[in-house]
Symmetry: C2
DNA sequence: CTGAAAGCGCTAACAC
DNA sequence: GTGTTAGCGCTTTCAG
């Protein structure tokens, strides 16, 4: 393997990547460089003739404005940094896909950063060097120090799917507490008495809100969590944790329901329950997830889960970002998107005649599409959110 | 030092995002701007003292070199464009994750483009404006016209997981033909006689190579494809196609095996087979996929499939890119990565005593990780690839 | 090894 | 409307 060792830069400029410049166009069109700039600037005032000449010259030369140069002079890159960590969890690819498309259709570009570890700070600093116009954090928390730095740099940031402890940054998240609470009610109302919880990363706001929601919801039915283990939002760990949670102890103590902090972990839990533990789902134990990723609808799992309304979340995110960008201000808003319980087959269904939430029963129905997708909503469980799809709480 | 007598910044410049410039640092350190530039340029020659003073001044001011300005003057952005289309298919999130990390650790940044439709051309042009140093296409084909344009702009491109018709662009792909051929052999050797094929997008090289491989492999066993349908690499379409393929016709004509062009479609096929059609997998019909995405190992599917060696593919991709970037040349290489058959439970296993390929049977084994991953390779099926993990065929 | 000066390609006042 | 003229922040000759 050889290394680059020579700063061999000739007087001759290296054959430039995009050699044709606005200057070239200006000369061909016999106008000033400004005229060229203006015809390529949406709001500018150019006479139709000038524009025409410029366009033609540009076409002839195959001219494309250099976005980097423009960035240098306008300080606007039209690039948004998107930071994510866990693409294994299907929730995030879906998010990235929609977010990118939305941003693209608004004329922005996505600079993607994947980060496992907590080196997010270093990464963000690196990222700031690219003059991104905004940042969407869908991974880690920002250290408050860095959040500060970024705020000073006046770069809009929105935390996606986590609420910042500091509270000084805009956030978009689901009603995690309400969703989990609805699960608690649903499980209690369908006759479950020993509800276990398989937690996500302990330091994440999503996990603590979901756990809190479960606890509160159960309490409202006179119950409490029967068992708890941590799967750290990780597939293997979730499988392991499930195994441990269900092996020790008497059979009579065995949880009759398991609420899992993410679908991704729920699949691992179900596999373990059915495979290593030889239990039936939902006959022996009901499983409920969170997210409603595409796989939740797969025939072999038919996972009852809490849907995060990705579209609304993305819309809110983009809206918040654009609003800040357009007005050149940094605001701190918090949007909470309503969730809904999607009832499929992985949790025991309400008994006919019971006073539980109504649900269209589709036990093993394998047809997909509308039929299966039209799962029951559970608004009756007393969630706190109003009828509006998204609730906005602006501060400042 | 006082400020120089420059006509101090004109009217209201918007409060800059990263106000501290190399000039500020230079003044504080009482050196020239060049000195600052040099201390932040890896190969440059600066005396230790100068460097030290600069570093300290930089630290004091919180200086971070502006990557955009640097790009403008060096014409090197250290950004790589990555173009993908289908994040639903788990294969791509995995690719993106590894690719991004690799690129990041080599000091590059990823500009991500998601594109459904065939507007790839327009997109690419747009993308070129950002002066990306290279492009990884993991979605559509490039129109030959555009490929030409890009080549002229001297931007290295590598097509990931597709071979370009034009042949004028570097490509990295799996041995799709060999993998599919191995499947044909495996199915024939485990007693299947009516093998159906569920195709991916008709215009994709992956699909045609896989189909060809299946046909060739079956022919070598005196068989031919018994039925064929198109799922277009799409989940719903695959479910639909499976339904159609298995409903009409006599039961005796029903395929006893289904080779699916991607795991993603295979899950849909299995769901349909089991659900709507009430068939057992693999007792009534064996299913084999392609890709070996994480979900293939899930307990409810245990999909026998052809593994694409993502790591090797990514390594090759990054290597090809870097090599071109470092030497400032555009080459046209083709790397083909070997595949292997991963035997799980979705296809009937070889009968003990049969002369088929050996396979460690792990029918319902729920433990994951090494145990399950150490599935059987099928080198005995006469694949064309050598023992090396990746085969390189350089042209030009 | 160091500094001065001239750009990289584009935009943004400021006259005209 | 249009051209002129300064830069945006950094790198890179070219002298010293």
């Amino acid at each position: 393997m050889m290394k680059t060792s020579k700063p061999a830069r000739r007087p001759t400029m290296p054959p430039s990547k995009n050699s044709v410049t606005s200057n070239d166009v200006a000369r061909l069109a016999e106008v000033s460089q400004s005229a060229v700039s203006r015809t390529f600037t949406p709001g500018a005032s150019v006479s139709p003739e000038t524009r025409e000449r410029v366009m033609e010259a540009a076409r002839k030369l195959g001219y494309r404005p250099n976005a980097i140069a423009r960035t240098l002079s306008t300080r606007l890159s039209r690039m948004i940094a998107v930071v994510v960590s866990d693409l294994q969890n299907q929730f995030y690819p879906v998010v990235i896909e929609r977010l990118s498309k939305q941003l693209q259709s608004n004329g922005y570009h996505v600079l993607l950063f994947i980060t496992d570890t907590e080196d997010a700070d270093e990464l963000l600093v690196e990222l700031m060097r690219y003059q991104v116009d905004g940042i969407v954090m869908a991974s880690t928390q920002l250290s408050s120090g860095l959040a500060q730095q970024i705020a000073e740099a006046r770069v809009p940031v929105v935390m996606f799917n986590r609420v910042s402890r500091a509270g000084s940054i805009s956030t978009v998240s689901s009603d995690n507490h309400g969703g989990a609470r609805a699960v608690a009610h649903y499980l209690a109302d369908t006759g479950h008495r020993r509800v276990a919880y398989l937690a996500g990363a302990e330091d994440s706001s999503t996990n603590s809100d979901r756990e809190r929601g479960l606890i509160d919801g159960l309490a409202e039915r006179g119950l409490r969590i029967a068992a708890r283990a941590n799967g750290n939002y990780n597939f293997e760990r979730a499988a392991q944790a499930t195994l441990e949670m269900f092996t020790h102890g008497l059979e009579s103590d065995r949880p009759d329901a398991l609420f899992v902090a993410s679908d991704h972990m729920a699949f691992a839990a179900i596999d373990t329950l059915r495979g290593a533990l030889g239990l039936r789902v939902p006959e022996d134990v009901s499983v409920v997830g969170f997210d409603n990723v595409p796989q939740a609808d797969w025939g072999a799992y038919r996972l009852t889960t809490v849907e995060q309304d990705v579209d609304s979340m993305i819309d809110a995110t983009v809206r918040m970002l654009l609003q800040q960008l357009e007005n050149d201000v940094v605001t701190r808003d918090h949007v909470t998107v309503a969730t809904r319980l999607v009832v499929r087959g992985s949790a025991r269904l309400p008994q006919p005649g019971t006073d539980g939430p109504q649900a269209n029963r589709s036990p093993t129905k394998a047809s997909r599409g509308e039929g299966a997708a039209a799962s029951a909503t559970a608004p009756a469980t007393g969630d706190t959110q109003g009828p509006a799809p998204a609730r906005r709480k602006s501060s400042r």
